[in-house]
Symmetry: C2
Subunit: 88 residues, 2 copies
């Protein structure tokens, strides 16, 4: 499946942990936004790990899931921060 993850972390230390973790699993596309193809078990692992990092009373993580990335188109206006853009 394909996922987009956007997060809003109240504490910079936890924010950095989320950033560094997601970098190992997904493609960084913008400040606090990642996306990528994942297996179902990979997806569950990401959710499990994020739940352990964030403070659920202060932080927010939103994730969008798709059966296929063909269902969506991503466009960038202005600065394209992700130069290695492998999105179709």
């Amino acid at each position: 499946m394909y996922i987009i993850v956007v997060y809003d972390i109240a504490d910079p230390k936890r924010g950095l942990k989320v950033l560094n973790y997601l970098r190992t699993k997904l493609i960084w596309v913008q400040n606090s936004v990642f996306e990528g193809e994942v297996t179902n078990s990979g997806f569950q692992e990401i959710l499990f790990k994020l739940r352990n990092i964030i403070d659920s009373l202060k932080d927010s993580v939103i994730y969008y899931t798709f059966d296929s990335k063909n269902y969506t188109t991503r466009n960038v206006m202005g600065l394209n921060k992700n130069k290695i853009d492998n999105f179709i």
Copy 2:
């Protein structure tokens, strides 16, 4: 069509302009993230307006488009900042 807009604006003043504009057109779901159903002309209007607000050398706006919001599922982990949640 259904759109998700995530933005990263270098200047707080421009960031506030983007926030206030998008509030009139879409549903706010998280810090710097909006989404909503739009007509094709409504979508073009949003793009036109955002291009006028942002500094394309410093700011970044990413927008995902879908034919239907049925193609995606949104889930929130932690704080649900958007209490009026009308996403299916």
